[in-house]
Symmetry: C2
Subunit: 339 residues, 2 copies
Amino acid sequence: MIGSRQKELLKEIVLEYIKTARPVGSKSLCKKFKCSSATIRNDMAELESLGYLEKTHISSGRIPSEEGYRYYVDNLMEPKKISGEDMLRLQTVFNNKELELNDAISKSLEIISDITNYTSVILGKESSDNKLQKVEVVPINERQLIAIVITNTAHVENKTVMLDEAIPTEEIAKTTELLNKMLIGTPIDEVPSKLEFDIKPIIRNYIKNYEVVYNAFYNALSNFTSERDVKFTGKANILKQPEFSTVDDVKNIISKFESKDMVSKIEETDDEVKVYIGRESEIDDNVTIVKTKYKVAGREGTIAVIGPKRMEYERVINMLEYLKEHIENKGKEDELEEK
Amino acid sequence: MIGSRQKELLKEIVLEYIKTARPVGSKSLCKKFKCSSATIRNDMAELESLGYLEKTHISSGRIPSEEGYRYYVDNLMEPKKISGEDMLRLQTVFNNKELELNDAISKSLEIISDITNYTSVILGKESSDNKLQKVEVVPINERQLIAIVITNTAHVENKTVMLDEAIPTEEIAKTTELLNKMLIGTPIDEVPSKLEFDIKPIIRNYIKNYEVVYNAFYNALSNFTSERDVKFTGKANILKQPEFSTVDDVKNIISKFESKDMVSKIEETDDEVKVYIGRESEIDDNVTIVKTKYKVAGREGTIAVIGPKRMEYERVINMLEYLKEHIENKGKEDELEEK
DNA sequence: TTTTAGCACTCTTTCTTTTTCAGTGCTAGT
DNA sequence: ACTAGCACTGAAAAAGAAAGAGTGCTAAAA
């Protein structure tokens, strides 16, 4: 197993490598551990055989392996407390009462990108348990309507409804009334099934061409949960990290960032701040993503920071934790204020 | 002035350099011009002194200067006709009647990015001469309303209206009615002045606390013209170009692409397809941007392609021209169909 | 049993040097 | 007006040399 000096050593190496981005040699750790470089070397060899350290070539110093970072994050990191300076910068955002929640999150992530030189992401959407508050239907012409859905959280979405054939205005009005009567208070992710099982049978009874109407509204009302805001800040930041120093590395990471399935790799369902190192990230072996889910009245999503594996883990985790907490607090405050 | 063989020579050099990305030497042009390399060299020297060619070092072959490309684009390019193959690929999009106009444009630009390996951009917004068709106001609670504006082009925008103090429902209803009566048919960029000069005086008469109501609605209704869609496709593509072969070049161009004022450099107000080479682009000395404005019923914007100066000018220009034409046609078709 | 000193060895990095080569400008001759 | 010939230039690639950081291992010391 791993001894206590070895733990300390691993931690020191991770920290040093995070700071300098150069392999750590045995000599440089002598004073710290009050022993000779040979002793350190022995322990290093041990840590390497356990899979926590790696060499870049046969006679180089050591760098942490993926498992090394993992072990550091899981077992060696200091108790969590955000630094005063970082807190101060983030506070400027939350002290500004003018800012809407969404803008506050964006701004916070800009700050985080800015001070860490990593890339940050917010991925937000309406909560799927939001309730439908009202459906408005506005005719544009005989074959085209606009359906507007409003949720209890004052969120509005609209969709153009195309009718396969002209439908009399009264029938549209009747249907709209029915939709409102039956759907108000329904969580938006339950709307489709309610349409199918509760509304369809009724419409069938009193509208001639009920299929045209039903299909049009079904299409319009069932894709509402899918809208997603995505905002990246500081995509170019990661290039400042010394691990991306060759053209190929840079091109590679940029392509990954631009690729279509990037967004799908970001969503987090866990409430805790989670760390995915290297291949765990599924984005690229050379990056770490730290992320957490947030949820406030009406909105939910993921906030994340992407940086090199050699990331200031503690700092980033603390900032995200702080941010998550303040987002959720601000959400509550805003709600109170509305009352 | 520039002689006719020299024109031919300049053209050949531009074309060759576009193809290979390597400085063009005098020997390689001998067969083409049926003369010795020395003759070519003399002409090259001439073209260089006129500012159309450059050397990368004292004994290198020639590459076109910015003025060289300019001269090529303005005077030497072949008559414009899109290639059959490119046309075919773009047609697949416009033949698909299911696609909405916006999606069709996006898809087209994806195709262009894909086949050219350049970056393409669409920057769209609602036309500012769209007319307001309806205002809906939905109360959320005593102090909060949602204002929904619908234009004659079936575009919907909404904004939350915060009231500084509670206002009776009837007054809101009255105001809404008034807004609809007075504003329907007004171009959206004239809404603010109509509010100020026509509506304000009336409201004042019959609502006690008219300033609260007026201000809230003024805020809600006057920022509607500013919304802009921006979509980049293939941002990473430009990295495939050999001019971006050093880390610094790559980092530099990426930063420019990510920077805040990038979007502002893209908008084009001219109806023609325009070419901005190098510094003309204002984006980066090493890129060319080809762009044009489009306008269809209800929507307008810019489509653009960004690539290296060493760009396949003819091809890109032709594709954009073709695209612009088809966007505008499709716009008309869609309109007819609605009738 | 753990730690340390010492040493040979390995590999990267950096710097110089050399060679090759594509291409030029210029002169003089056709 | 064109071309052949040649000296010259600078980039790029290859090869070599020297420096340095760091290792593993052995044998001795604690």
